[in-house]
């Protein structure tokens, strides 16, 4: 209703423009009186306050601008396990699964262990070497299963590709990826004549956590 009346009022102005030019200020009152009288006539049921409200000019905000504050640099949170699984970061593609491709890794690992143990001399103390190996990373080592509760695992040999919390992922010479659970098996790692036996049941932790862990001699080492 108010829109219509406003349109009617606006329409009227250009027609009477030449007549109203000189006497604008007066016509304000006149126009107001005329408008209110007209409104009263056109809206018989509406009260005076309602008419007043209809004539109030309200500003309509069309756009909203926020002040740009100082920008905070976000720390990369890393991916969650779900995202990691989706991205398949830890999955090896079949074309990468060749034994020859991992041999350079094995050379790197040998170099790393030699540096770690300050060169493997025949007279070095095996106890010291063992302690160092407990905290070492085994990715790239040639591992073989020496004894196991399940006899079909015995004898599998290969380069360690991935060490997870409970399993070793090994690639054998026949280019087969074998997943061997740590529990209930004894693995043997050979480096420069030193053979070290790892009891898998006591080794069940992520390689990153193992470097900070103190090993206690608890219980028996029976498989």
């Amino acid at each position: 209703m108010s829109k219509e009346s406003q349109r009617i009022v606006e329409l009227k102005l250009p027609e009477d423009q030449s007549q109203l030019l000189g006497v604008k200020s007066q016509n304000d009152e006149k126009a107001e009186a005329f408008t209110s009288a007209f409104l009263r006539r056109s809206m018989p049921g509406a009260s005076l306050t309602k008419i007043e409200c209809a004539l109030v000019h309200k500003a309509v905000v069309l756009k909203y601008h926020k002040k740009a504050g100082p920008k905070k640099t976000k720390r990369p949170k890393g991916l969650s396990a779900k995202q990691r699984r989706e991205l398949k970061v830890f999955q090896l593609k079949p074309e990468h699964l060749k034994y020859e491709l991992f041999l350079p890794l094995h050379e790197l690992w040998k170099q790393y262990v030699r540096d770690l143990c300050n060169g493997l001399k025949p007279e070095s103390n095996p106890q010291v070497i063992q302690n160092k190996l407990l905290k070492a990373d085994f990715h790239g080592a040639v591992i073989s299963v020496d004894r196991s509760k399940c006899p079909s695992y015995v004898g599998t040999t290969g380069i360690l590709v991935q060490e997870l919390k409970h399993v070793f992922k090994i690639i054998t010479k026949e280019d087969k990826l074998k997943v061997i659970p740590k529990r209930g098996s004894v693995f043997s790692v050979e480096i420069d004549g030193f053979v070290s036996h790892i009891y898998g049941s006591r080794f069940q932790m992520r390689s990153s956590e193992r470097s900070a862990k103190k090993f206690k001699a608890k219980g028996n080492i029976d498989l």
Partner: protein
């Protein structure tokens, strides 16, 4: 009894030698070859046996089983944690043909992983008419000895002996079979059956009714005796009654090895407090017989 097959005692034979192609040809393929590891205790050590059906049975300790890498099952006579495992390999099976993956795996396990070495008692029954079997060259390179079953004969005089009737199994008129078996064992061991008040060694008594026998012959044969030989011995004993003789019965008792991994077919044999497994035939004049089959605590029931 001189016709018992000769058997061989071969020392320090690695078990993988038995899997060699040439060895298999001369031993397993004949179908009459028997081999058992010598002086290995069934409850403590690894025991190896090769049957005429071509099955190689390894009864191994837990440590050996975990290192060996061949699939087997835990022993029946184990407590909470099995300490003993039995691995059965059928050498006549198609999958065990030389050159196949399974054959290579078994050979690798027995040759490189855990080289099992034991002394063996071996024998092979030869068919009547052909020449006697001898050790093949793959086995004769190890120190070996050829042995004959030793026979020991004793004549017992004035022996109280129970009276038996062939068809009387319940012991109504004559001696009861179980009591008779006990008496037989006592005689075999030489235990006096007088049951005197002063003797504290045994209270065995000869079961009633009894008679006094002038002479009795007790004959003991020791060695690796083959079933075929025992069968022919039994036939001979049956023929003994063809002519009229003064005795009314005779008995043949056969004991199995206390350390054998199997008894009575393929049932597993263990050693609890004794490793007995035996059977005894009691033959009567009228060709009736009683057959007792006895087993120890860690054994299955005989068929």
């Amino acid at each position: 009894m001189r016709r018992f097959t000769r058997f061989y005692l071969v020392r320090e034979v690695p078990v993988f030698e038995l899997l060699g192609e040439e060895c298999l040809e001369k031993t397993v393929r004949t179908g009459r070859f028997y081999a058992l590891s010598y002086k290995t205790r069934i409850d403590q050590d690894d025991v190896v046996a090769l049957l005429p059906t071509g099955q190689l049975i390894l009864s191994v300790v837990k440590d050996t089983y975990e290192q060996l890498g061949l699939e087997g099952r835990p022993s029946q006579y184990a407590h909470k944690r099995p300490m003993r495992y039995v691995v059965v390999i059928d050498l006549t099976d198609k999958s065990m043909a030389p050159g196949s993956k399974r054959y290579d795996r078994v050979l690798w396990a027995l040759r490189e992983k855990v080289p099992l070495k034991t002394d063996f008692l071996m024998a092979c029954h030869s068919v009547v008419g052909t020449e006697a079997w001898s050790l093949p060259p793959c086995l004769s390179r190890y120190p070996w000895k050829e042995l004959q079953a030793s026979v020991d004969t004793q004549t017992l005089r004035d022996l109280p002996c129970p009276v038996l009737h062939g068809d009387d199994l319940r012991g109504e008129t004559a001696c009861e079979p179980h009591a008779f078996l006990e008496w037989l064992g006592a005689v075999g061991l030489g235990i006096g059956c007088e049951n005197e008040a002063t003797s504290f060694l045994s209270t065995y008594e000869c079961p009633e009714p009894r008679t006094l026998v002038d002479q009795a012959v007790l004959c003991t044969v020791t060695g690796l005796l083959l079933p075929e030989d025992i069968h022919s011995l039994l036939e001979e004993l049956r023929r003994y009654f063809d002519q009229p003789k003064s005795s009314s019965w005779l008995s043949l008792v056969v004991h199995g090895f206390a350390d054998s991994p199997i008894s009575w077919g393929m049932a597993e044999h263990g050693f609890h407090k004794g490793g007995e497994n035996f059977y005894s035939f009691v033959l009567f004049k009228n060709q009736d017989y009683w057959l007792h089959m006895g087993t120890g605590a860690n054994d299955g029931c005989p068929p």
